[in-house]
């Protein structure tokens, strides 16, 4: 089931209506049934996988509590089973293809088996979430849960099941276990958030997505149309993914849950590290906590005090851990080399930025003066990254990167400018929103999710007369815009395929 469908509207309204009429325990049962229905709507066999993941992690965590001496064994059981499922469904063909290619390069001709099954939607998200639970139990940060229904709901909670945000056990499980109260204030704010999310998806992402799809369907696009297409994709992926998160957070709030903020206006980032503090925050922090930090600690024990090529140990440790983390993050996105390259590209950017920051420390006034240029520079680098991400054919990618603005067809520049302006026109509300929110401080009592960094004026707080009037107008105008400007081509959420 997808958010921008009428069937979801009926499903959601029905669920919310019954939900608030039930006592807490039954609310969880209802949510679990609803979540499984949501997930298995088209392919019921997906439910077997999510149930297996949940059940194995449930038993592994309980085993860690019951037999502390064998904690590591239970942890590995969970990790191997989760990665096993993910590897089998997502990476099997990729590895077989690559092994065959390597073998062919050395003269052996192996024809490996081809797995002919559908990639279960959201598997990368829920396996990572489930794994974070067992790892946290292993580290003693979270207690193993005895109530299977609570854990199953933690793994499958429908608003964020398919494309995140990836929630941690210590944030979401207490919300599952504690009684929840309906908050009209939260419901009002979340209504605006949901409408804003639908607007971003149906009006912005789907319309600019058509431009990106057209350009990337070309065999050899000219320089200007290509980069207009990359710009369109850059807008599409942000509008699309952040729309999903907004709708997820909005629907969760109607049910009394707070999901973490996943995007913080990433295209206003001043550098690579800042970008990753703002983009897909829940996945970035997952990799930070479960890959980057453990790896950094392990490396720091081995490389303590080294100095190579004039650079201190901390730069080498940071660089290596970052690169490995981002290679894995790239691979998480898909079983294709361009994703690995994309991860490596961002890893290298981060390492270079860190090394640069260690050698050049401008004064605060200079930094402030440089801010707009840094934002523009980072935006350009991000676009370059999106080209790598979007172009799955490596030969075409090399050709695209080698394109020169000086070797263009006479008509190419005009067409590129038109496509760029059209994408910019559709994305205007996104830029206005980002610039409006930029640098707003988070006041006390922010009702914007546990990890909000700043308050979004779209979702205000106490219902003052002006705020309610502004929210009503905004929400009504956005809904009207959805009715008249939504794309006639409905595209799936991009992150569904990851």
């Amino acid at each position: 089931m997808i958010f921008h469908s009428l069937e979801f509207l009926v499903f959601f309204v029905t669920t919310v209506t019954i939900y608030w009429a039930l006592p807490h325990r039954w609310q969880n049962v209802l949510l679990l049934v609803a979540s499984y229905m949501f997930y298995g709507w088209v392919h019921p066999w997906f439910l077997g996988l999510i149930f297996a993941t949940t059940f194995i992690d449930y038993l592994s965590a309980l085993g860690m509590g019951r037999w502390p001496a064998r904690k590591k064994l239970f942890l590995w059981t969970s990790i191997v089973s989760n990665f096993g499922l993910l590897g089998f469904f997502k990476y099997f063909n990729f590895f077989v293809d690559n092994i065959s290619a390597v073998a062919a390069a050395v003269g052996w001709h192996i024809s490996g088996p081809v797995l002919s099954v559908l990639l279960p939607v959201g598997i990368s998200f829920y396996t990572f979430q489930a794994m974070s639970y067992t790892i946290d139990v292993y580290w003693g940060r979270v207690q193993a849960r005895r109530t299977f229904i609570d854990l199953a709901l933690f793994v499958s909670f429908f608003p964020h099941l398919v494309a995140g945000p990836i929630m941690r056990a210590r944030t979401l499980l207490p919300q599952v276990e504690q009684p929840r109260r309906f908050s009209a204030n939260a419901a009002r704010n979340s209504t605006v958030l949901i409408v804003w999310g639908l607007f971003k998806k149906l009006v912005i992402a789907d319309n600019v997505g058509v431009i990106a799809n057209k350009v990337f369907a070309l065999q050899s696009p000219d320089f200007f149309p290509l980069w207009a297409g990359v710009f369109a994709f850059c807008i599409q992926i942000y509008a699309d993914f952040s729309a999903y998160t907004d709708i997820a957070r909005g629907t969760a709030k109607w049910l009394g849950f707070d999901l973490v903020v996943n995007f913080d206006h990433p295209y206003l980032a001043v550098g690579p590290a800042d970008f990753w503090r703002r983009w897909n925050i829940s996945l970035t922090t997952w990799f930070r906590d479960y890959v980057f930090l453990p790896l950094s600690y392990a490396l720091s024990r081995r490389w303590d005090g080294i100095r190579w090529l004039g650079l201190d140990d901390d730069i080498w440790i940071y660089g290596t851990a970052t690169l490995v983390t981002f290679l894995l993050s790239g691979l998480w996105h898909g079983a294709s080399w361009n994703y690995v390259l994309w991860g490596a590209y961002h890893g290298v950017l981060l390492a270079l930025a860190r090394a640069g920051a260690a050698t050049w420390k401008p004064r605060r006034s200079v930094r402030r003066w440089l801010t707009p240029f840094r934002i523009l520079g980072m935006f350009a680098l991000t676009n370059l990254g999106w080209l790598v991400f979007r172009e799955t054919d490596l030969h075409t990618l090399v050709r695209d990167l080698a394109l020169s603005p000086f070797h263009r067809s006479p008509f190419g520049r005009q067409a590129g400018a038109y496509l760029f302006l059209l994408a910019a026109l559709y994305s205007l509300p996104l830029w206005i929103h980002s610039l409006w929110v930029y640098n707003r401080p988070a006041p006390q009592g922010a009702d914007n999710g546990p990890s909000a960094t700043r308050v979004d004026p779209i979702v205000g707080h106490e219902p003052t007369l002006w705020r309610v009037a502004a929210q009503t107008c905004l929400s009504g105008v956005l809904f009207a815009a959805i009715l008249i400007l939504r794309s006639r081509t409905s595209l799936d959420f991009i992150y569904f395929r990851f």
């Binding site: 009428l6 009926v10 009002r188 369907a217 008509f411 005009q414 067409a415 106490e462 400007l485 395929r497």
Partner: protein, 349 residues
């Protein structure tokens, strides 16, 4: 602040969200007046002037011919089968070819319903030629330049096809969408606002004279068919699983009503999946998703009592038989027809 105030504020926002777009109704009347008639596919557009009238000549021709077999498809079928030769190989049975270039399953469904079944006695067999997932993609070639061809087979009201397109585009609750249009009248506004928005940047990048032709030139020079990647590459980014998800797409396709019509009229139905252009003289590579799709399609047609033939992987159809794209060279039409009848001999006996 009291809970009642919070509750009231919530209802104000929800009601305002739903009521404010009612302003679209008077706004829609500010646009250019539309004198067009109601569309036979209101899901795609509320009003539309037909480019072509319904073609009654074909019905007359079929009535005169009284075909035993009708062959339906686009140029894929047309470049493969020589109908006269086909008829002679079957002992001079009456064979009517209904191959129309650049058509899709929506056209074939309407051609079968409005042309073939309009004639009595009904033919005994209808053979449909298609590529990959065309049978379950009702939106393929129904808009833009292809619409004029669809006009030729469409009556003034095509309710069943409209439902198929509506459920494909808007899901099973498409009636709610139609209701929204009744309430907000958004389609009328959309019809002039959408092109206005798409044309807005044109004036900024082209001089007045060029501006009028810019979009047309872009379509013919940059996004023309020859400039596109081969399907295999272009398909990679499309969610293949979604595109080739037979179970999901069959319910919102013309295939079930097409088979139902065939059963009702007592016409045997046969479906032939033609092979796309070979690569390196080997059958084109099929993604796992496509293989799965074809296998599900075969099972479905078997269950429905229809005949299915798949050309893919036929060693007798090498690259040398192909002209441009997936079309066969006209010199090989007899050879293909012979091969087709030979492989499917029990069926045509």
């Amino acid at each position: 602040m009291s809970g009642r105030v919070h509750g009231f504020a919530l209802w104000v926002v929800v009601a305002g969200t739903l009521l404010l777009p009612l302003a679209l109704r008077p706004l829609a009347r500010l646009g250019p007046d539309s004198t067009e008639t109601f569309s036979y596919l209101p899901t795609l557009e509320r009003t539309r002037t037909r480019t072509m009238p319904f073609d009654t000549v074909v019905v007359e021709q079929l009535r005169e011919m009284r075909p035993e077999i009708v062959l339906i498809g686009d140029s894929m079928g047309g470049s493969r089968i020589d109908p006269t030769y086909f008829a002679s190989q079957l002992g001079n049975r009456n064979v009517a070819p209904l191959f129309y270039n650049a058509t899709g399953s929506a056209f074939w469904y309407l051609a079968f319903k409005n042309w073939v079944l309009a004639v009595t006695p009904r033919p005994r067999l209808a053979v449909f030629f298609f590529r990959d997932d065309q049978l379950t993609d009702p939106l393929f070639r129904v808009t833009g330049p292809y619409r004029a061809t669809l006009d030729r087979v469409a009556r003034s009201n095509e309710a069943r096809l409209n439902v198929v397109l509506a459920t494909r585009l808007q899901g099973p609750l498409y009636r709610l969408d139609a209701l929204a249009d009744e309430v907000y009248d958004q389609e009328r506004l959309r019809q002039w606002l959408e092109p206005a928005l798409v044309n807005a940047p044109v004036g900024l990048v082209a001089r007045h004279k060029e501006a009028r032709t810019l979009l047309g030139r872009m379509n013919s020079e940059i996004f023309c068919l020859e400039a596109l990647r081969s399907m295999a590459q272009a398909d990679v980014w499309q969610a293949e699983e979604a595109t080739y998800d037979f179970d999901k797409s069959v319910a919102t396709s013309v295939l079930p009503p097409l088979l139902a019509l065939g059963k009702m009229a007592g016409v045997r139905m046969a479906f032939v999946r033609v092979q796309r252009r070979p690569e390196n003289n080997r059958p084109p590579v099929q993604s796992p998703a496509l293989q799965r799709y074809v296998s599900r399609l075969r099972g479905y047609l078997d269950k429905e009592g229809a005949f299915f033939h798949d050309d893919w992987g036929d060693p007798e159809q090498p690259l040398s038989m192909y002209a441009d794209g997936d079309h066969l060279s006209s010199t090989f039409r007899h050879r293909y027809t012979d091969r087709f009848l030979q492989v499917n001999a029990p069926f045509f006996r």
